[in-house]
């Protein structure tokens, strides 16, 4: 095997290994419930792919994960740990909902792009504060983003509970005008045209990340910030650009849920799409096309888990534990690979010191 081919195959092999280990751990976790792991996984499989509707629902479930996965893949590739996707998603979703409610007399050709644009701007807006605090004052991005996530969830809960409260008892806005709804493929499934939009987004992001100067600089940023500044890139401006674009994609995830699935903004509707997006991104090797596969995998897992929970006594919360296992195993592998790359460039076998590692993580 040539060196290049070996390298190309090594990454998927490691990913498969991580998934395998996670499924084994999952099986161990299933044991105390009295259900056999085989039975649980069989129901999981049937739930995900058992019928045409189940497959459509798996795709529907994958859609928000595809968007959040892309948002995470771009940011993490650039070494910008945007944990704030969840909050950006909420603000994006709320912006789309407002435009969809108040602009309902506009024709779809204008209203739908307007809603989508609004969602992207909302997501971007929520990334501005973390971005500025991080680049200007070196405040840890993860800490600020976590705070912003909590604030976004509470704030949108307030907005749809008080000033924009709709006609149903739970905290939710009014229904969007039908002109803002995204077309569905089958009336029995929530799958809508947003899925196609997400796949198009993946292709565009792939081109951006691997065929343009912007993408090259982003990837350089993720490998080594100091080096990136040596090649003449304004590192802070680059971080902001990556973060803002990531926030805009996160906003799209919210728009799809509001315009295609719920048709209104419902408080706390996201079942951790922002965090699952991180797993999806790592699973996809931080490559937009890989993210498509990762999103389909997790869409299937989450959709299948619903049937598993109904048919057996295994709670679907099992899946979120497995996610974390996958992240940790892939992360452990990730760094070994990157370090080898750095060593080759430097030509010296010096391991990064604690301080270098601290600098790398102080994002």
């Amino acid at each position: 095997m040539s060196g290049k081919l070996k390298k190309a195959l090594a990454a998927p092999a490691k990913t498969l290994f991580a998934i395998f280990v996670a499924l084994v751990i999952g099986a161990l976790l299933v044991l105390p419930t009295g259900t056999t792991p085989l039975e649980a996984y069989k129901e999981l499989w049937n739930g995900a792919f058992g019928s045409k509707i189940n497959i459509l629902n798996t795709l529907a479930r994958s859609t928000p994960l595809l968007f959040t996965g892309l948002a995470a893949a771009l940011a993490f590739r650039g070494g910008v740990f945007n944990i704030g996707i969840e909050g950006q998603l909420y603000i994006g979703a709320f912006s789309a909902a407002l435009i969809g409610i108040y602009g309902q007399n506009l024709p779809p050709v204008i209203l739908i792009p307007l809603c989508i644009l609004g969602a992207m701007l909302g997501g971007l807006l929520w990334a501005v504060i973390p971005g500025i605090l991080n680049t200007k004052y070196q405040i840890n991005l993860v800490v600020i983003c976590t705070m912003m996530n909590n604030i976004a969830e509470l704030f949108t809960d307030y907005l749809c509970g008080y000033p924009f409260k709709g006609d149903i008892p739970t905290n939710a806005t009014l229904k969007l005008g039908e002109n803002a709804w995204l077309m569905r493929f089958d009336e029995r499934s929530e799958l809508n045209i947003g899925f196609i939009l997400a796949v198009v987004c993946a292709v565009l992001l792939y081109i951006l990340m691997f065929k343009t100067r912007f993408g090259y600089e982003t990837r350089a940023l993720g490998l080594n910030r100091r080096f990136t500044s040596y090649i003449g890139v304004n590192v802070n401006r680059k971080i902001l650009a990556v973060l803002f674009l990531s926030g805009m994609i996160a906003g799209l995830a919210g728009a799809e849920q509001v315009m295609g699935v719920n048709h209104r903004f419902i408080s706390a509707f996201s079942s951790d799409y922002g965090f699952t997006g991180i797993t999806v991104a790592l699973l996809g090797g931080l490559n937009p096309l890989g993210v498509v596969i990762g999103a389909l995998f997790f869409g299937a897992l989450e959709n299948g888990a619903i049937q598993m929970e109904v048919m057996t006594n295994v709670s679907r919360d099992l899946i979120s534990s497995l996610q974390a296992v996958i992240i940790m195993l892939i992360a452990a592998e990730e760094l070994i690979r990157t370090r080898r790359g750095i060593k080759k460039v430097k030509g010296a076998g010096k391991a990064p010191s604690g301080r270098e590692r601290k600098e790398a993580s102080a994002s």
Binding site: T33, V142, L154, Y158, I327, A331, I336
Partner: protein, 306 residues
């Protein structure tokens, strides 16, 4: 008790989770590994504390078990970051997800409930009455507090002593600044890092157990609600010193206390719940802005001398 004393009492009662985890975060920062898994380690303490209390019927036993369980989670975190050289940020986020998932999963496996678990078999941490203190103004806020409050304050003193009066403390402080020098001096840096992280995890566990056994006697999904990150903010606020972290934690638990008091004012509760997070962001902002302007001043000062 007057309003001020009540506020002080509430502040002290909400202090341990943020203070204990804050010291865990401070230790991690000192040895050069950013620990973003504090939240998950704290949640471990909350969850295991309730489970252990339910099965053993001993609150203090449960407290210890909670601390050890979180130390174990911290050991896993350290293994991945130190041994497997995984990115600490990613592992920290994963640890938080892992514990959030496992705690809800086992809640349904063990008790068949979803969301929250409370039972009369859960023994809460007893309140410690100090004889005679209830007559002394201000100080009486310390009366009837949990052991965890005293433990948290004790650990501040202990860590302050270790940091500035022992060779171990010197090594810990030097590791974050220049690990190579510490290695050259013949110290096993990795062992130091493992030790600091695992001990920090233990502290997080005690803090978590205070949440589920001290303030309340129940476990709810995600009951730490960002306190691990607020704790890290407290450590950053305190410039990674034990006393500084204490001041930071006091500030945040004071905010928490005030927030609770205005909870009943009829204002939309979500807006009030946002306050601690906003205060955390603004505090970090002010602290770092100040630090930046000081750095700038130092730089320009040096330039003018040339």
């Amino acid at each position: 008790m007057n309003a001020l004393e009540t506020l002080l009492e509430t502040t002290l009662r909400t202090l341990p989770p943020v203070l204990l985890a804050g010291m865990g975060g401070m230790l991690a920062n000192r040895i050069g590994i950013l620990n973003l898994g504090l939240e998950g380690m704290m949640l471990t303490g909350s969850f295991v504390g309730v489970i252990a209390s339910y099965y053993t019927g001993s609150a203090y036993g449960a407290l210890l078990i909670a601390g050890l369980a979180s130390a174990l989670v911290a050991l896993i975190f350290s293994l991945f970051t130190i041994r497997f050289k995984a990115n600490p940020t990613v592992v920290g986020v994963a640890v938080n997800m892992l514990i959030a998932g496992l705690s809800t999963y086992f809640l349904s496996v063990l008790f068949g409930v979803r969301g929250s678990f409370s039972d009369s078999n859960i023994v809460g941490l007893p309140k410690i009455a100090l004889p005679g203190i209830s007559e002394i103004p201000v100080l009486r806020a310390f009366n009837n507090q949990n052991l965890t409050v005293w433990l948290a304050l004790l650990f501040v003193i202990l860590l302050h002593y270790v940091f500035y009066h022992t060779s171990l403390g010197l090594r810990i402080r030097a590791t974050g600044q220049f690990p190579m020098a510490v290695t050259t001096a013949g110290v096993n840096v990795k062992a130091l890092q493992y030790g600091a992280l695992v001990f920090g995890g233990f502290l997080c566990g005690l803090g978590g157990a205070h949440l589920s056994l001290g303030q309340l006697t129940l476990f709810t999904e995600d009951m730490t609600s960002g306190r691990g990150f607020i704790a890290l903010a407290a450590a950053i606020f305190g410039k990674n010193t034990p006393v500084g972290t204490l001041i930071g934690a006091l500030l945040f638990s004071f905010t928490d206390g005030v927030t609770r008091r205005i909870q009943t004012s009829g204002f939309p509760s979500m807006l009030i719940d946002m306050i601690p997070y906003i205060v955390t962001v603004v505090t970090l902002w002010i602290v770092e802005m100040h630090a930046l302007s000081r750095r700038k001043k130092m730089l320009t000062g040096r330039a003018s001398r040339k």
